[in-house]
């Protein structure tokens, strides 16, 4: 007797501790992450957390929360009841607040209160933590590690930040570790600790000094001297974060649409994940047009309709009792619409077939003509995630 096999995405959500959605921007990554988490909470049970970077009001609304902040908030049971489902486990959400997360990281690793305060007050630190773009990637992975290590969650679904380079967040912990161990940093700080006098003779410092000005360079140096005291803690932490990402408990879902540019980016991403021996648990393509649009028999029907003769139009008009001239215009528009959308549908179907999934299942989610703004909508998307 054959034993029915669980759907791959369902199996993934049931067996992993961390599922990371990644891919290009604007393809519904955040919504997909929320839908996967809602699916796990309603169907599989357990304590599920969705960690998002998207402050969108709509997602908070869909989860029945007045807003999603840096603190973990549980989705109320009524939200599931309204959608007509019961929640077997629990679903919570948290948003990544870069500045707050950096502050707590510093507080945790600083050897003493003075160092902590000195760092928090340093203008360079304030700039790095709130504005510095790259810091976002590192802190996202760091926060994930922190939440995972509390042991409170059966499953954490992570929505990754829209980065310039889709892989930045994967490399961020290693880069952070590398930066702290770099000769450059040691060399900058070593000679005479925070005094710049010893450095002034070096050609590098001369250039940096001319460009940045002594005071700016001084602030930078002071910042790194302070940070240096947290060196070991940071490195250890960054390495632990890297290990967690590569661990078998973690899997990645590559999310994209079937359009040319996002798909190219998603392909690059899937390949990079595979190259790094990271687990690609699935490729999810959102906004897929109905397959009937690329169906040959539908095209044949559309063609017949396009070549219709006036007699046919007249007869049809009579049959459904409408004005023949208006019907003719409508039929013309209908065939034009079909041909417009079928060009896109065929191109996209072809691109999907050629997409290298590296052994992972490819799941298509249909085009929703309405926006998802509540739990029912999220669960509707979720049903497609595990549809046969």
């Amino acid at each position: 007797m054959m034993v029915a096999k669980a759907h791959p995405i369902e199996a993934l959500l049931a067996s992993r501790e961390i599922v990371v959605t990644c891919g290009p921007g604007g393809v519904g990554k955040t919504t997909t992450a929320a839908a996967a988490a809602a699916l796990a909470a309603t169907r599989l049970g357990g304590r599920v957390l969705v960690l998002t970077v998207d402050p969108a009001r709509r997602l908070a609304d869909a989860l029945g929360l007045s807003g999603i902040g840096n603190e973990v908030t549980e989705v109320p049971a009524e939200v599931f009841a309204e959608a007509g489902v019961s929640v077997r486990g629990s679903l919570s959400a948290a948003m990544l607040d870069t500045k707050q997360s950096w502050d707590s990281l510093i507080a945790q690793h600083a050897p003493d209160i003075e160092t902590r305060d000195r760092i928090l007050a340093n203008p360079i630190y304030q700039n790095i933590s709130s504005r510095f773009i790259q810091s976002h990637d590192y802190i996202a992975m760091e926060r994930l590690y922190e939440l995972h290590s509390t042991g409170e969650w059966d499953l954490i679904v992570v929505d990754t930040p829209p980065t310039r380079n889709a892989l930045d967040f994967l490399d961020a912990p290693a880069r952070m570790a590398e930066f702290f161990s770099s000769r450059l940093l040691r060399w900058l700080i070593a000679p005479s600790r925070s005094t710049l006098v010893g450095l002034a003779s070096k050609p590098f410092t001369q250039i940096a000094d001319r460009i940045l000005g002594t005071q700016f360079l001084g602030d930078i140096t002071e910042f790194f001297v302070s940070l240096q005291s947290m060196h070991d803690g940071f490195i250890e932490r960054a390495q632990a974060v890297s290990r967690l990402i590569a661990d078998e408990r973690t899997s990645f879902l590559v999310v994209s649409s079937s359009e040319t540019v996002p798909l190219r980016e998603a392909e690059f991403f899937a390949r990079e994940l595979a190259n790094r021996n990271l687990d690609v648990g699935g490729v999810i393509l959102n906004k897929v047009l109905p397959t009937s649009l690329s169906d040959p028999s539908a095209s044949a029907a559309a063609l017949t309709l396009e070549d219709r003769n006036p007699a046919m139009t007249k007869q049809l008009a009579k049959k459904i009792t409408v004005d023949a001239a208006v019907l003719d215009r409508v039929l013309t528009t209908v065939t034009e619409s079909f041909s417009d959308f079928s060009v896109v549908a065929r191109r996209e179907a072809n691109a999907r077939e050629r997409f290298p999934t590296f052994g992972a299942p490819l799941i298509t989610i249909p085009y929703f003509s309405h926006d998802i703004h509540d739990m029912s909508g999220l669960l509707e998307l979720a049903r497609h995630l595990i549809a046969e």
Partner: protein, 316 residues
Amino acid sequence: MGSTPLTERSLLFVTGKGGVGKTTITAGLAQMLADQGRRVLACEIDAKGDLAGAFEIPPTGFEPVEVTAHLFLMAMDTEASLREYLRLNLKIPVFGRIGPVAKAFDFLATAAPGVREILTLGKFCWEVREQSYDVVVVDSPATGHIVGLLAAPQGINELAKVGLIRNQTDWMLQILADESTTGLVIVTTPEEMPVSETVELAASVREKTSVDLACVVVNRLLPERFGAREQEVFDTLCAPAGVTALTRAIGGDAEPVLSAASLATTLRRSRAVHLETLRTGLPTETPLVLVPELFQRTSGLRATKQVAIHLAEELL
């Protein structure tokens, strides 16, 4: 705001949420301006090669490449920008990644906040000041990062009180703040998330940067296909009796053919609502430039040229 027409400015930053067609619009805009006989430098910041792809050429480097008449393409490389800057301003000739400069660069770019952004903006402002091109069109970072880029000179001004970088930011700020020279173009689609991001971004740009919002390009608009009478007939046609009659008339299943038109109608209606939200969410003086959905096989040169034609209709 928006008093100088887009086509007369000489530094244009194009941004937008991922997936709205930012790069296609940037390419179309550059093509349109070149078609007008202006000498155009189009630059990609992310260096993913998408902008080069829109002109069907291999990815470009820091050295501009002439794609077609008057149209040059380059990709931003902050290290190359620093090298150029040092050569031009400090009279330090630097070839390759050697010695102190490479070290200084690594340090500056990794550790000193805002420096990477200044080197990026500096290159564009410099080209504008030197007038080697009539207009510089920048395929800028997506909505989440554009404010960080455009606000970098002010940030540096707060951090650095003296030094070359401080001297540099002053003249850059002048160019960026001059609305007859510099303008920001936000690309969006008439969909919920892109619209709300656009409205938020417009406010944040006004609050945190000195750059003027020149216009918002609404991409992928679907044309109104049906009047009231046509809609009524279409509804009759889509009812079960209508589908059966049409299926019989054409001797094949009519349902998928009708569903394409239904999809177009539903999408158009929901997009019209979002377009209205956009209109009311933006300052009244912000011009909206409308570009229709292109139903095409590819996203290359053919799409770029079609976008250029649509933009010309709206902007010229």
